[in-house]
Symmetry: C2
Subunit: 333 residues, 2 copies
């Protein structure tokens, strides 16, 4: 608590095209004073997510972020003072603190986390990324042993876990990722059966070759052309878990959706289902226990991409949107 200032990164302007460093500004803000029911927390690791960019378009499952305010974002933080009986100094929490050193947040909006080493796992495998992968694949995609599961943004924080869980469940797993290195990593290190490099330009053909028996479950992180390609290759009664639409976030969203909606949905009797991790919050403990058992048994590799220095947060998000990261990206404050 030696710092007198509260560094903050503001979103100074909402981007209309690609997000750039010019949309952010680092300022020294005031130390927030927690009101009744609030805790003062110090951010330790800021989570970077494609959703951060989606929030700039408008209301999503949360309110839109606004220009000239502290950029919104989740983080792992430590309680330094508390006006709530629910939390005491030293508690580790997850919450939407925004991009700043300190935040005053209603205790009811903070999730108390266990102390663990490395603490970064609270943002990756035991955080939103791991739970999103777990619930989205198992509760929405519902893969059966022997089925073919495809996941896009497969080298990302969620996708890399989705594919590994699908392997644990005995599925044939195909990842879609950008670049040869990522694709090699998926098959050589994470045990995916095949990987398709969408930067190669012939995604549909490559995917069809990799999935000769069609697709039973598609875990969609990207939307757009890749969703269109998967729709065309889905088997009857296939399931599409709609987790995100990264292809639509950084720039002007497409004026159209993928071809095949709703025609192929009818003909093949597909289910497309959107979800967010909060929908399954009541089953969090059981999910965490199972994830932990897989990590401990060495069946699930945790990949993190930790960037040092608060001031690098905007660059870290811009890079994530360009597909720089492998696994869960976060900033160590």
């Amino acid at each position: 608590m030696s710092e007198a200032v509260n560094r903050q990164i503001l979103l100074v302007e909402k981007p209309t095209g690609k997000l750039g460093p010019e949309h952010f500004k680092l300022v020294d803000g005031a130390m927030p004073a927690p009101k009744d029911g609030e805790a003062l927390v110090r951010t330790r690791y800021i989570s970077l997510d494609a959703a951060n960019r989606a929030w700039m378009h408008g209301a999503t499952y949360r309110a839109a972020v606004e220009a000239n305010t502290v950029m919104a974002g989740g983080s792992i933080a430590e309680v330094v003072a508390s006006n709530s009986p629910a939390l005491v100094p030293g508690d580790i929490v997850f919450g939407d603190t925004g991009w700043q050193d300190y935040a005053a947040v209603p205790a009811k909006h903070l999730t108390k986390m266990p102390r663990m080493e490395p603490m970064t796992h609270l943002l990756s495998i035991y955080g939103v990324a791991g739970l999103t992968a777990y619930f989205g694949l198992l509760h929405v995609g519902k893969p059966k042993e022997g089925e073919t599961v495809v996941v896009s943004a497969a080298a990302g924080s969620v996708g890399s876990i989705v594919g590994q869980i699908a392997k644990i469940k005995g599925c044939n797993v195909i990842g879609i990722a950008g670049g040869k290195d990522k694709c090699n990593w998926l098959t050589a290190e994470l045990g995916f059966d095949a990987a398709v490099d969408y930067k190669d330009g012939a995604t549909f053909k490559a995917l069809r070759a990799a999935a000769p028996n069609g697709i039973d479950v598609y875990f969609d992180n990207v939307g757009g052309d890749i969703l269109e390609a998967c729709l065309a290759l889905m088997n009857n009664r296939g399931r599409i878990a709609c987790c995100g639409a990264i292809s639509q976030y950084d720039g002007v969203p497409s004026a159209h959706g993928p071809r095949g909606v709703p025609g192929l949905i009818v003909v093949k009797r597909l289910i497309m289902q959107g979800f967010i991790v909060m929908d399954f919050i009541d089953q969090r403990d059981a999910a965490l226990a199972e994830l932990q058992s897989w990590v401990t048994a060495g069946k699930l590799k945790v990949q993190e991409d930790v960037i040092d220095g608060f001031e690098n947060t905007p660059k870290a998000l811009i890079g994530l949107l360009a597909g720089e990261n492998r696994g869960k990206r976060m900033v160590k404050v």
Copy 2:
């Protein structure tokens, strides 16, 4: 059995644009001879469905129809001779007989129907139309009392039943149909709470005004712009029952899908689910019993649009695709 000839209507050419009379030809064909396991049936009422047109584009849930063959189509028919122990002369069946006076069909592809007056009800309320409405609304859309249900092609064979069942279930029901007359009929005769005329040109605005609390269940018969409008108005955890895509059938299908896929599906956690009536065939008897109880109690009005004369079948389909019909259209052979 005095006829010596078997009138047949051939699809002489697959349409690339709008379907017209020039795509069909009436010919005198040979009387078919049923093989072992087949029945010879005489068609009584030919069912006309938007799906007939979809089959011309390519494989759907059934093989594509081919040029220079008898046009495919379901009908209510009477068995006149049988080489199967499952059927005897005089039995009334439903099956894909095609557009012809007589057909030889494997008995296992025919569904035995009860004798009933009027027989036309076997194609409307107690046929594919009624069951599609029943299963699609109740098992896919799953409306709860007090929710807002929207159905497109609401004056059609399926839509008119969907809306009435939704009313029985205590929902706020909005139909989308083409033209003031149909819209008036929906509200005045069938008890819909509101109707939106898509020919008015401001569908999104009209729909938003009719559904101030948003849409919980959308029963989609049309796809395209109307699906896009509904997507934008869906409430969180809304359900879209994908039954058909009439807007895409008669002409060149759109190169794009509706905006909002998958973005709005994620954000609102929607479920879009395709289905066909065969998926629920094991629950047919219970569904028919419930439909019958509603008809008997006067809660469900049956609307049929019976066109006389086999030779008028092409015109009847072309008219159906143009939205001419009110309720279930069929041809009396």
